[in-house]
């Protein structure tokens, strides 16, 4: 549009500072909104990721209160045709007798079957993480720690590590180190993996498990399989999805989400105000220009078009920078 070139561009050239301020206003408005929104999104994503990572590909979890399960229950669950894979889990929290602070969550899993549910990124390729897999499984004191935890405490393979648990101090030997990704990043590295059968022995669980994690056959709905399992197992057993187990997380994240939305709205409001103001100022300052154009025979449409085109151009610049 010739008018735009003739007037607006000249105007921008002549009033570089004012134009820059107008654009800066738009930049700020968009940036505040986009920034708030992105920040909120990433915090929410982090929350959700934590829940997801611990659960892995687990679709349902079976619990039975403090006492846990007999091994026989695991076999029954594994025998249900709708269940693709079911693995036993023992969770224990222990305090390392080391320099580093913080508790260690020990996740004891079936080392042979659990890889289909959870992703452990292992150092030095998948198979060399454990000096000798047979030794790892054969020795109940074998434990796998994260690279961060190893670095923090100056641990390397085959070093001893004493952990205080509910049943007193336990001595372990580091026989594997995990890369920090997937599951391990959920706890900032304070996670250790050991064999579930070894854990039964070390933590005095007898022949019981804390939990069964399972995935259903392709194409089936977890909720329906869950109902079926509840019927099968009878009272005293809860079959739930990992996300409903992570209720605390969820309610926390929904409260946070609401708060985040309110701040986003505020930011949007401020952003709109800044943008509106920038243009209101620009239009007021150019009222005489508009008057002259009208007197020279510019229709309302032509002038509106001019300002719309201008705001479109300014807006595009501003938005580009705001991002």
């Amino acid at each position: 549009m010739i008018l735009l070139r003739l007037i607006s561009w000249q105007y921008v050239r002549k009033h570089l500072l004012r134009s820059l301020l107008t654009i800066a206003g738009i930049v700020l408005g968009v940036a505040v909104f986009v920034g708030m929104h992105t920040a909120n999104q990433s915090v929410l994503t982090a929350f959700t990721n934590t829940v997801d990572r611990i659960a892995g590909a687990t679709q349902l979890q079976i619990t039975a209160g403090e006492a846990g399960f007999e091994e026989e229950i695991l076999e029954r669950v594994q025998g249900v045709p709708e269940v693709r894979v079911a693995v036993p889990v023992i969770e224990a929290v222990a305090m390392p007798e080391t320099r580093a602070k913080g508790n260690l969550l020990i996740l004891a899993v079936d080392m042979t079957g659990d890889r289909s549910l959870r992703e452990y990124a292992l150092e030095d390729g998948d198979d060399s993480f454990i000096e000798d897999p047979l030794v790892f499984l054969a020795q109940p004191d074998s434990i796998m720690i994260t690279r961060e935890f190893a670095a923090e405490n100056g641990l390397k393979a085959n070093d001893a590590l004493t952990l205080r648990s509910m049943d007193g101090p336990k001595r372990f030997v580091v026989r594997g180190i995990m890369k920090s990704s997937g599951l391990t990043s959920a706890f900032g590295g304070n996670l250790a993996i050991m064999d579930v059968y070894a854990a039964q022995k070390v933590f005095g669980r007898g022949r019981r498990f804390d939990r069964i994690d399972l995935a259903v056959q392709e194409g089936l709905r977890p909720e329906e399989v869950g109902k079926r399992l509840e019927q099968l197992l009878g009272a005293g057993y809860q079959v739930e999805s990992p996300s409903s187990r992570g209720k605390q997380f969820e309610s926390l994240s929904s409260v946070y989400g609401m708060l985040a939305n309110i701040t986003s709205l505020f930011a949007l409001f401020i952003g709109m105000f800044i943008i509106y103001n920038s243009f209101a100022i620009a239009v007021t300052q150019r009222r005489s220009e508009i008057g002259i154009l009208r007197a020279l025979g510019a229709t309302r449409g032509q002038i509106q078009g001019l300002f719309l085109a201008e705001s479109a151009v300014g807006g595009r610049w501003g938005r580009g920078w705001g991002y």
Binding site: I7, Q10, Y11, G297, A298
Partner: protein, 224 residues
Amino acid sequence: MIELTGVTKRFDGKKQVTALNMVNLRIDKGEMVSLVGPSGSGKSTLLNLIGGLDKPSTGEIALDGAVLSGLSDDALTKLRRDKIGFIFQFFNLLPTLSCLENVSLPLHLRGWKKAQIAERAHELLTLVGLGKRLEHLPEELSGGERQRVAIARALSVYPPILLADEPTGNLDSATGVEILGLIRDLHARLQTTVLIVTHDRSVAENCPRQIALKDGVVVQDRRV
């Protein structure tokens, strides 16, 4: 032809001002008319009403038979665009545009082709003696030169009606005479209807018809 019947214009402010009071006036095509009167007598107001920039409180204004109050906003703009050239009391050039661009502007607004625009703008700037200052910005020109650009702009569309509000008011008398000569020349060549507001006696006396306003009322209307 310009025809005013019973035109009154009031401004509502803290105190109501009657800028024009029951003005009846008829200006025929091709006339050259001067409009004199003390400051605040309503001269600029009259020009603005005729040019359709403002609306009368009561009464009617017709241009070539078209009653302005009966027109939509867009139709009024088109009429103004096709029939009227304005020279403002203060030059009202767009400061960011060069002389050439200022003169081209009304032609752009009428959707002319680029080549035609360039040709016409050159022609008129040459006519007002600024053929060599095409690319200059208004601030780089003297007052007289600016007024000449404003005249070239007003005439760029060959308007049938030229409304000039003190075109020589901000100029020294020699330049004023020059500008007036220019307007007379164009009036003669294009049979433009000219209405000039002026404080300058000699300018007024150079027009074949002289109208005097006082307190918003026509107090004298004579032809020589």
